[in-house]
Amino acid sequence: MTLLARNDLVGVATPGRRRRAGTRVSWSSLLYLAPALLFFVVFVVYPICTSVQTSFYVYDGLTPSTPAGLSNYVNVFTDPDLRAALAHSLVLLVFYAALPVCIGLLLAGAMSRIRIYGLTVFRAVLFLPQILSTVVVAVAWRGLLASDGPVNWVLQHIGLGAVATSWLGNFDTALPAIGVIGTWVEYGLCMILFLAGIVSIERSLYEAARLDGAGAIREFFAITLPALRPQISIALILTITFALRNFDIIWNTTRGGPGTSTTVPSLYVYLDAFQNRQLGQASAIAVVLTVIIFLVVTAVQLLLRERSGERRASRGQRASRGRRTA
């Protein structure tokens, strides 16, 4: 059995036999996948299907459900509260996705150019927010942003006392304040991704650019940024998903308040599922949210897709690099 499977794997890997492996479903290789596939089906596919199904019912999770047709979906698109929540999500996209990518690029660009002693330590520290539990992050920031917190203390001591406010308790500042927390959480991840990308850029390109008299900024835009396209794409996918499904930071700082100024769709998923016991409505919001995330992420992927010519170039780079290290 094992031997057979091995032969098969080799078969897949050998170009000459690829065709055969493609036409015949190799059941033994599926066997290898089976444990993971089973997990995936039980804990991902099945719940998703159940959510989709539940979204067409009125269901309290206890008593038998009644079919609801499309009414749950109609509510999603007509409820002004949900529309406002979606608008808040769009604002958060700037803070959770756009800003972290920009800051990450800036830091990665600087770190790759300047020789920094103890770089590993810096990298680890800057990545730290990503590792911390979001509840811990939320509680810590609640303290930082409080009306008598350190942020306001600093503002008062640099003569900006007039700006000081209860950042999370003020209708106008609560949403951006939550956004800043998200930026802080996400930029470390972006930076690490970009640093990894920069490592694989051919050094000679920089040398050539320098010989041609390019400065740091020119170098960044002409070489670093285009080469990081795949990493930027991944960073955006991760941060956008985080932004659109974010719940824990908001729940642990403002609960959607003051008023409804920081509500997001996932907050309503939680409230409808666990507080109002309207599982059908909660599922409908969740399904719509998933579709939105899927669409936005697909759009980003398409926009940042490598064009065929460029791909060949980057492959060439990697190949030459590989030869050199070997």
């Binding site: 038998p64 459900s65 079919p67 008598d148 003020n170 609560a174 409804t260 507080q275």
Partner: protein, 444 residues
């Protein structure tokens, strides 16, 4: 790359097949849920240790609010001593977590035998509607809960058969803990200002003005969880509104409304207090927990809250002003016996022991208030003041309960809407309209 692409149609096909399989193979959600077997035998005499002993060596699975832990430390050993064949296995949940999970746990295959719910539609209503908790009228009758000091505190755990209104009807739960709202004050600051402990909203308003002009923070409020201000609102509203009317509205009685002059006036009063600076600024960014900690450390003269805040304050520095105009309060989370349990006798014995003067004393010693007030003695002045306030409100019939019981989403709706009025972004009539609309939606 191309290798991946070749695999893609297969992946999609498998995915689609699985999706179709999953969608077609399951029936409508909840269709498999059979109503639990109808209630166990009703009792006509008290459960004795001998009755419980008939269960043999057994384990009683209990779910409790984290806040009960100090009480349970005394209670469980006493229970296990009286009923030696029963071993108690308790699962503690934070209050939020309890509310979010207890109903599903009760509906699950391994439901706890005895557990705490919460008054109102979100938890108890769902439990009653799905017939997950045992009716307790027979128990109340046999043990005499319906007479004596705690009798009126049972009302919020009474439901009509359909689980649509509460406040009267069949009893489904019992809480040994009561709560009363009032005004905590900082003793030394109050005497430095030459003021007397406030006993009414009018007093509070006057003394807050005095405290403000003396440069003190009059009231500490932490409203980021959106519920603290609704308690203050109810303290103010009950000075104008009839307690019975508020109770009816909370209980879901048809034809009642929140859009009253008294409620609008109360919202305007709160707004007025904000604009006069009676609350420390930034209250919407401060959690209730952090606020009481600040007050305990010496910020502010007053903290308008309830007996559940008492555990954070010491009797030397702080006093409790009861609201003679109608101190609001309510019973805390009721205990239920699962309708699925095979250990009903042990469950009834559990409730009986909770509803005793001994347990009442433990509750009071732990900084909370018992339903059984006869035969319990307060250990310090602060708990004596709160206990007296509780007795007064029970006697006066002003325990109206909490607004957020009225619908599953009222805590969020009312809490958020009140934040808007207090910040001056909406009018008090907008506020009452929003609240009433949510109520109407919940009581279709």
């Amino acid at each position: 790359m191309s290798h991946h692409r070749a695999l893609r149609p297969l992946t999609i096909a498998v995915g689609a097949a699985l999706t179709a399989l999953a969608l077609t193979s399951c029936a409508a959600p909840g269709s498999g849920t059979a109503a639990p077997a109808s209630t166990a035998d009703t009792i006509s005499a008290k459960v004795t240790p001998a009755d419980v002993a008939k269960l043999g060596s057994t384990t009683l699975a209990v779910w409790a609010d984290q806040a009960e832990q100090p009480l349970m430390k005394n209670f469980i050993p006493a229970y296990e001593k009286t009923y030696p064949n029963v071993k108690v296995q308790v699962t503690y949940k934070s209050f939020d977590d309890l509310l979010a999970t207890v109903v599903n746990a009760a509906a699950g295959a391994s439901a706890p035998d005895v557990f705490e719910g919460n008054i109102g539609y979100a938890v108890d209503g769902a439990l009653v509607k799905a017939k997950l908790v045992r009716p307790l009228d027979d128990v109340a009758k046999v043990y005499g809960w319906t007479t004596g000091t705690g009798a009126s505190t049972l009302a919020p755990a009474r439901w009509d058969a359909a689980g649509t209104t509460f406040g009267s009807g069949t009893l489904y739960g019992m809480s040994p803990i009561s709560e009363v709202q009032g005004i905590y004050y900082n003793k030394s600051k109050l005497s430095a200002l030459g003021l007397k402990p406030p006993t009414s909203i009018a007093d509070l308003e006057k003394e807050s003005a005095a405290a403000k002009s003396a440069g003190e923070v009059p009231m500490v409020l932490g409203n980021s969880d959106q519920y603290a201000a609704t308690h203050i609102f109810s303290d103010i509203a009950v000075t104008d509104e009839k307690p019975a009317g508020i109770r009816d509205w909370i209980g879901g009685k048809r034809g009642t409304t929140f859009e009253t002059a008294g409620n609008e006036k109360a919202a305007d009063t709160l707004k007025d207090w904000v604009s006069k600076g009676y609350f420390e600024s930034g209250y919407d960014g401060l959690s209730n927990e952090d606020a009481i900690a600040k007050f305990a450390k010496g910020t502010g003269v007053f903290f308008v809250g309830g007996s559940w805040n008492g555990a954070s304050l010491n009797a030397d520095g702080f006093g409790f002003g009861s609201l003679a105009s109608g101190g609001v309060g309510a019973t805390a989370s009721p205990w239920h016996i699962s309708s699925k349990t095979k250990k009903t006798a042990a469950g009834i014995a559990w409730l009986d022991m909770l509803h005793s003067p001994q347990t009442g004393q433990w509750i009071l010693d732990g900084g909370r208030l018992p339903v059984i007030t006869d035969g319990v003695k307060a250990g310090d002045s602060l708990s004596e003041e709160t206990l007296n306030a509780l007795k007064e409100t029970i006697a006066a019939g002003t325990q109206v309960g909490y607004y957020d019981w009225s619908t599953t989403d009222m805590l969020t709706v009312m809490g958020g809407a009140l934040q808007e009025v207090m910040a001056g972004r909406t009018s008090s009539s907008d506020f009452t309209k929003t609240v009433q609309a949510a109520w109407a939606k919940g009581h279709k």
